[in-house]
């Protein structure tokens, strides 16, 4: 799957997404591990904030290959 990146994460990866392969039944935590391995330049905190299909998702949420997964750097709206 292509994991979406934004702001500082996208700059660090020099890309707006990173492609990782996830096994059937993989959880958000597995995607985080895969992204860390695929794009070590991204300055991910110990527990990155992840969204699945536009909703914040905890590390134990199961993701399907068709889900839209995004890594959310610290937000700064307003």
């Amino acid at each position: 799957m292509d994991v979406l990146l934004f702001a500082s994460y996208a700059d660090a990866a020099a890309a707006s997404s990173v492609r990782v392969s996830v096994a059937e039944g993989a959880r958000v935590a597995d995607v985080v591990a895969a992204v860390r391995a695929a794009a070590p330049a991204i300055p991910l905190p110990a527990r990155p904030v992840v969204a699945v299909n536009h909703r914040y998702a905890s590390p134990d949420v199961v993701v399907a290959a068709t889900d839209e997964v995004a890594f959310i750097p610290p937000v700064a709206g307003g």
Binding site: A51, R55, Y56, A70, I72, P74, V75
Partner: protein, 159 residues
């Protein structure tokens, strides 16, 4: 109730008018603007980026939660994206209610929720030509507990 992520200038007068109704004796309007200095550095402007579909979803969720919490449907939130020069409005929040306390408290609650939850990022452009993504707080975000990320330390930047 209406929320929007927009790529044009915010018309704050129109946003305020939109929430007014004859029964509303109070209307509070919060406007966040681009200021000239942050952390001692001279700012020329701010570029706002959003994860648009999720930002729109979160803005809508915040407005619905505020409607229940403060007892009014008369809520409008608009957040602008793109490059904003000094003085331009980045966010406008209007809340109207028959009485002042819910109108004032509602606007305050909405901006704090927005800053903690809505996936929008800003990159400050400084007058010396450099630019940097702004982290709302120095601490890393904690993992989300109940669907939203724990609020990062607040209070450094504009709004």
């Amino acid at each position: 109730m209406r929320t929007a992520l927009v790529g044009r200038r915010l018309d704050v007068g129109a946003i305020a008018s939109e929430v007014w109704a004859p029964a509303n004796g109070a209307l509070s309007l919060f406007v966040g603007t681009v200021r000239n200095v942050n952390d001692g550095r001279a700012v020329a402007g701010i570029e706002y980026n959003a994860y648009a579909p999720m930002a729109e979803r979160e803005l809508g969720a915040i407005a619905r939660e505020a409607a229940v919490r403060f007892g009014t449907e008369h809520i409008v939130i608009e957040h602008r994206t793109g490059f904003l020069p000094l003085g331009e409005a980045s966010v406008a929040i209007a809340v109207a209610h028959p009485h002042r306390a819910p109108a004032l408290d509602g606007a305050r609650w909405i901006i704090e929720e927005l800053k903690a939850r809505v996936p929008i990022w800003k990159r400050e452009h400084y007058t010396d030509g450099t630019r940097e993504w702004v982290a709302q707080g120095a601490v890393a975000q904690a993992a989300p507990a109940e669907g939203a990320p724990a609020a990062a330390t607040r209070g450094v930047s504009d709004a």
